[in-house]
């Protein structure tokens, strides 16, 4: 379910690191909790993002959820498809519905995040409460 090559946050974002670039999205668990996603607000290319700080919002019909950046860096690309097709976040959150790409300021930050196995344990524990 949760790709091994990703790292995960407690706020349900994922990041896939490729050299100096990280691709960021929200997890399948997050999209399920939100329900039908209707709108996404994202930063622009060139904007700065900071680890554990919010960089955008995802909206369902009756909820707004902030998205927190797993890492610090500069936005190099934004997934434009989501403006017209926010439902991609429901159908393909781990691939087609990536949110932003970031040039990492400190690749070491990724080490502090959870692995797929740890994340699965984390959400299982959260659900059992």
């Amino acid at each position: 379910m949760y790709p091994e090559e990703f790292q995960y946050t407690k706020d349900h974002e994922w990041i896939r690191v490729d050299g100096e670039t990280g691709t960021i999205g929200i997890t399948d668990h997050a999209q399920k909790e939100l329900g039908d996603i209707v709108y996404v607000e994202l930063p622009k290319s060139g904007d700065a993002v900071t680890a554990a700080e919010t960089f955008g919002t995802v909206e369902s019909v009756k909820a707004v959820s902030e998205i927190y950046s797993p890492v610090t860096g500069e936005v190099t690309a934004v997934n434009g498809k989501l403006q017209d097709h926010p439902e991609l976040l429901n159908t393909d959150p781990h691939a087609a519905a990536w949110l932003i790409r970031v040039k990492l300021s400190d690749p070491g930050e990724v080490q502090k995040l959870m692995s797929a196995e740890e994340y699965e344990a984390y959400i299982q524990e959260a659900e059992s409460h």
């Binding site: 039908d36 209707v38 709108y39 909206e59 369902s60 019909v61 009756k62 926010p86 439902e87």
Partner: protein, 495 residues
């Protein structure tokens, strides 16, 4: 033989397109009087560049078609006149017809706000008398009827706190709000330039005195509190709460949304509130109208009186009424003119019809009805806070959710039994809330039918949850696709 429980049956409901689709050229729903002076065209009087030829797409229909169009639309609605409307926290009670009649009287409905005060004594008297009634009911010293609705009353109240604290030397930075509060509270606080600090409720759904003690620092201007709170529970320690806030130099804002649980029984000024608003559609039965107009009078103690919105209606020793604009410390205006006068007329008519005793009886009936429903349903629906309630009770879908049926589904199925749903998404501190407020307008007979329907739905959830998930079955439209509406908004008709 009586059929139990009774289901709703659909009745004739003609399809009716948008008025624009019904339009055809050359029709008009009014005939205007013939001009008394030679009519000039807009182009002549304004010049070609400024004048508009026509409004593209505007409807063209006869009077009868307008009557039928809106009459048909009305039959797709459900009102208090149709039946029980147990929306918790919304307080949908009977709207007496005489109130509509008096609000429409020539003189009251037709006086202009800038007509001279000497000639508008009737309107000014209505405003003045209403402020005195509000002061008596709340125990407060002064009242402004200017705020257009509850949320604007909140804003006015918090702005007054800001002005008063600033006069004392420091407006401070934060306002405390419990996590059970209405969404307007934090929004109004932010609009007033303060930041919100959330207070966690205790196990009884009330303010935690220990938490409050910690949170109430030198930076905090005050506390915004709904009483009874949004769980329908009275804050038992309200006096201690108010004393604590005052001791730390803060002020207490009471959200009076639930004042219908207290009228004639307790007065906010007596337990320590400094400022509060009233929602007249809740407590004083002005019609909700499908979402307004309301009015949100704001009542204050002496300490905040100088800051009330300007102008104020005053009465001279000679018995005449006028508008006082000489209020140097006022927060200013929050809207044009003097408030929703037409709504105030209905408010005063309701108070006068009831008198003090009638209002007290209404409070008692509202509380009795809510407790009756709560106790009759708590074996089938989870009761997260098992306390005696006041005007409303909050159950939850906890047991039904285990079968995959959530509060909204139960609410939708209730429609098929002929009732308006209860409140589903509030308060936020109860997941899957089933929030019921019968008001004093529900008879025991109607409550018993409602209880029977709620029990029948609970049974259906056990037997056939799939069936409940697709309700309602009897309405003009079935469940609507809200996700598509929000993804690709269509907000107007286009040719």
């Amino acid at each position: 033989m009586k059929e139990h429980p009774r289901h709703a049956r659909p009745h004739i409901t003609r399809d009716e397109n948008l008025i624009f689709e019904r339009s055809s050229p050359g029709k008009c729903g009014v005939d205007l009087p013939a001009p008394e002076v030679p009519a000039a065209s807009a182009a002549e009087l304004l010049g070609e560049d400024l004048s508009r030829q026509e409004i593209p797409g505007f409807p063209e229909v006869s009077e009868l078609e307008v009557i039928r169009h809106f009459t048909r639309l009305s039959t797709w609605n459900y009102g208090v006149d149709t039946g029980l409307y147990p929306l918790g926290s919304c307080t949908m009670k009977y709207n007496p017809r005489i109130n509509e009649v008096v609000a429409g009287l020539e003189g009251l409905a037709t006086d202009h706000p800038y007509a001279p005060a000497e000639l508008t004594q009737g309107c000014l008297k209505v405003l003045y008398d209403t402020t005195r009634c509000m002061a008596e009911i709340t125990g407060m010293d002064a009242v402004s009827l200017q705020p257009s609705a509850g949320a604007q009353g909140e804003l006015s109240g918090i702005l007054m706190i800001h002005a008063c604290m600033a006069d004392r030397g420091n407006p401070r930075k934060y306002v405390l709000i419990p996590d059970s509060a209405h969404g307007t509270n934090p929004a109004s606080v932010t609009t007033s330039g303060y930041q919100v600090k959330n207070l966690k409720s205790d196990a009884h759904g009330c303010v935690d005195l220990g938490e409050l003690e910690l949170a109430m620092t030198e930076d905090v201007a005050g506390l915004m509190l709904t009483i009874p709170n949004t769980l329908g529970i009275f804050e038992v320690h309200i006096r201690e709460i108010c004393e604590l806030v005052h001791r730390k130099g803060g002020l207490v804002y009471m959200d009076g949304a639930n004042m219908n649980a207290l009228v004639g029984v307790a007065r906010p000024a007596d337990f320590g509130a400094d400022v509060m608003h009233l929602n007249v559609h809740k407590t004083f039965s002005t019609p909700h109208g499908g979402g307004g107009p309301g009015a949100g009078p704001v009542a204050v103690r002496k300490v905040l009186e100088p800051y009330l919105p300007s102008p104020m209606v005053v009465k001279s020793p000679d018995g005449t009424y006028s508008l006082d604009y000489d209020r140097p410390k006022s927060i200013g205006r929050v809207r044009a003119f003097y408030g929703n006068f037409g709504v105030v007329v209905r408010t005063l008519a309701f108070i006068a019809a009831n008198g003090g005793e009638g209002l007290r009886q209404s409070t008692q009936d509202a509380v009795l009805n809510a407790n009756y429903v709560m106790r009759k349903l708590q074996d089938l629906y989870e009761l997260p806070y098992n306390e005696p309630c006041m005007h409303e009770c909050v159950l939850s879908d906890h047991r039904q959710a285990a079968r995959g049926v959530h509060t909204m589904d139960i609410a939708k199925r209730l429609i098929d039994y002929g009732f308006h749903p209860y409140t589903t998404a509030f308060p936020l501190i109860v997941p899957g809330a089933v929030m019921i407020e019968p008001t004093e307008s529900a008879s025991k007979e109607e409550l018993d039918e409602f209880i029977e329907a709620m029990r029948a739905v609970a049974e259906e959830v056990e037997e056939n949850p799939e069936f409940v998930l697709k309700a309602p079955y009897t309405t003009r439209v079935s469940r609507l696709d809200e996700a598509t509406a929000a993804r690709k908004p269509i907000l107007r008709w286009k040719e």
